[in-house]
Symmetry: C2
């Protein structure tokens, strides 16, 4: 190991309190990108990040790409000519924290309990990107960076916004790089660091159902009124069989089979994954396609879920209403080589077949991102795997990720550099759920792993 | 026609402005019984009614029956010994006005437009019960009532509350009567006064679905997570076929066939009903069981509707969540001789069969009332039909009502007197919907019809 790494790691170990305090400071900003009222916090967080990069000697700016969007924090240091260039991706926006009543401490007042840091964004993604910033800070503070580094931190990941994709695609010529570290996922259920070979894509739509022109009385009209709740519920029910098979025509046409090596690894991991997934969700069974492994269903099979449904009277007590409208949010996770445009078209005509004569159903596209594949044997991947081994004492698992990082495909297509999809959050960190948390030891060891990774890349 | 009726009608005709103003005064009280914050308005409305009865010489009081419930306004005048006794039923509570944005004028600021009075409760039930109070007031003011009269006005009709049923059943001995006028419905789609021979019953439940113990991320767990929205939607979808047949085992077992006379009348009315129902709802078709007439489906066939559904994230934008819970409100309209207890039991075990392995679904009973039958050829019915003929120039239609008036069965069982189920609201008055309204001419002519009815009863 290089002297440079030794020095930076020593510096990191003596700075743990302030490294944690800085993360907590960022977590106090309620950067919920889906809520207009959180925009001021988003802008504040972006500027806060920009200043930190500037203090580390980076050329840092906020790039406003889309009217009304959140700025991209773009920070660049090119003081190591001839050495490799690494682009690090993260995001400073977070998921909404609701339901609030299920949090044991307020989501934007970070709290340490039992070695974990609890806050919205602690894992996804502030804990991750702060570990990368801290690795750079300790290298800068102990002799300088061994490679050229660019950070691209967006504020629209949780709303699949357009700013960073547009920036990456329109500025591709100005963004040459040797590898893109998508530092936004984490460890597997068995507690191993991971390197992803694929990410699922996402197709997210709303179904809007309209029956009568006005809400009507279920006594007067029950039996003849088209009921948009009943019809929409039927449609949602029919989009997927009770054992998890999506029924949209052609949905599975372009799904690629896994390799025999992947299948072998999954078979070994499946029992652990199943047990951990049940524990994390608090369920007594896993649902889904019985003919596939659980780990495969969660990571590399496409699927469909309704993420929201609202219609009629949902207050306390009863109202004998047949409402005029109802709507549902439905998202599909896609895998290589599914094409979201074909699936959206098929869904649109399928829904017209499933509706009843008196109910109009419109399918509205909220966002779409294709699935992504990534290799694990290029030099940057080897360097990261070695750094994980040395820092965490564990071999990185090669996994397929069930989640989606929409911008990954933009990086891949526009920059043409290999993707490294990884991160430090532990598997049970409850991202997008109440009581999101990050193991504080993961944060500190993650900083060390990134120091080793950058030094190895520079050698 | 009696002199007494002539005098009272003359008095009514010269009091139209103040009769309307009094109704508007009552409509300004937002007596939404389902909302705890409306309780003060409910109590104020009850006391306002009590004082009016007292001013007319009635013995009037507010009866608190159930802890936390709304009082029954019980008013009695027995100054005509030897003459018949009539009990008049109505309710001072109203449905919630939401969705508020669809009202052209605020629901609790009554407004006259094009000969109609717009306000929540204008038809259901304040317009109806005020017409009865006014008929009594004009009779009292022009020589006295020809019969003995009792008003029982409840404040829990829209929440199927327990107060009036408990009062009627526990005080039955003190409530002798010769007929019960359930003055809470109205004219048919063809513009004719109506007298109901049956009311549908109501079984109203909530289905509560629980999947994971916490909200989970659809990227991480989509494909293995039990999704309570998908499962609950499937269940709602399967409770009724797309052509309106309820699938709960045994649901239709006790349904009585209509008489040939009823069927003949319905065949004549069906085209008018169909056209009017489509116009009132603003739909291009009617849904439901194709093998039954539309008028039959709406009035005398049992049915099932979901009245509310909520699960997951329903704000703007997208959240990739699989929620822990979802719930739906489901109501069934029942007809003679269906038994709600048997149907509830069947539904409970049916839902257990329809759910998926990882989703628990609980059925919670909100309220239940059996269907009711009523004759149309006893002396009180004949008197009312004659009064309608004379006042409106039209023969009353004998109909079956699709709606439910839970307390009707309590009156029938506890008091043993014939029921008269009728009222003055026009068919398109939009009860339970935005822009509820009452034709003002119906109100004034309705007062005259009730004056004639009471005088005929007294003859």
């Amino acid at each position: 190991m290089s002297k440079r790494a030794d020095a930076a790691i020593a510096r990191a170990r003596s700075s743990r309190d302030s490294d944690l305090a800085d993360l907590m400071e960022e977590l106090r900003m309620a950067t919920i990108s889906t809520l207009p009222e959180s925009r001021a916090d988003c802008l504040r967080n972006a500027e806060w990040l920009r200043q930190r990069f500037e203090m580390m000697g980076f050329e840092a700016r906020l790039v406003d790409v889309v009217e009304g969007g959140n700025p991209v924090v773009a920070a660049e240091w090119n003081g190591a000519p001839g050495r490799p260039h690494l682009t690090i991706y993260g995001h400073y926006d977070v998921q909404p924290p609701d339901p609030l009543e299920l949090w044991d401490s307020p989501p934007f007042e970070p709290q340490v309990r039992d070695g974990n840091l609890y806050a919205r964004g602690a894992a996804d993604n502030k804990g991750n990107h702060m570990s990368a910033i801290k690795a750079v800070q300790h290298l800068v503070g102990s002799g300088g960076l061994p490679i050229n580094v660019r950070f691209l931190l967006e504020g629209e990941e949780e709303i699949s916004g357009r700013s960073l994709p547009e920036y990456v695609r329109s500025s591709a010529r100005d963004l040459p790089t040797d590898a893109v570290l998508i530092w936004d996922v984490g460890f597997d259920e068995a507690g191993r660091p991971s390197l992803a070979t694929a990410l699922r894509g996402l197709l997210y739509v709303e179904l809007h159902a309209r029956g009568p022109a006005v809400d009507v009385h279920s006594g007067t009209f029950g039996g003849v009124a088209p009921n948009p709740i009943n019809t929409l519920a039927r449609i949602i029910g029919e989009l997927k069989t009770s054992d998890g098979r999506v029924t949209i025509p052609g949905f599975y046409d372009d799904v690629l089979d896994p390799t025999p090596e992947e299948l072998d690894a999954w078979r070994k991991d499946d029992a652990t994954f199943t047990k951990e997934a049940m524990r994390m969700m608090g369920t007594r069974v896993l649902e889904g396609e019985a003919e596939y492994l659980a780990v495969e269903r969660a990571g590399s099979r496409p699927t469909l879920d309704s993420n929201g449904f609202l219609g009629g009277f949902v207050g306390e007590g009863q109202k004998t209403v047949i409402p005029a409208t109802a709507f549902a949010k439905v998202s599909m996770r896609l895998v290589p080589d599914q094409d979201w445009k074909r699936i959206l078209e098929s869904l649109q005509s399928y829904v017209q077949k499933l509706t009843t004569p008196g109910v109009d159903v419109q399918v509205k596209l909220l966002s779409a991102g294709p699935p992504v594949s990534a290799g694990a044997d290029h030099p940057a991947a080897s360097a990261l795997r070695a750094a994980f081994r040395e820092s965490f004492g564990k071999e990185a698992a090669l996994v397929r990720i069930g989640g989606s990082i929409p911008v990954a495909v933009d990086f891949q297509e526009a920059l043409g550099a290999p993707l490294l999809i990884s991160g430090i959050e532990q598997a049970d960190c409850a991202i997008h759920s109440p009581n999101e948390h990050l193991l504080i030891s993961q944060y500190h060891t993650g900083i060390e792993a990134l120091i080793r990774f950058m030094c190895a890349l520079g050698d």
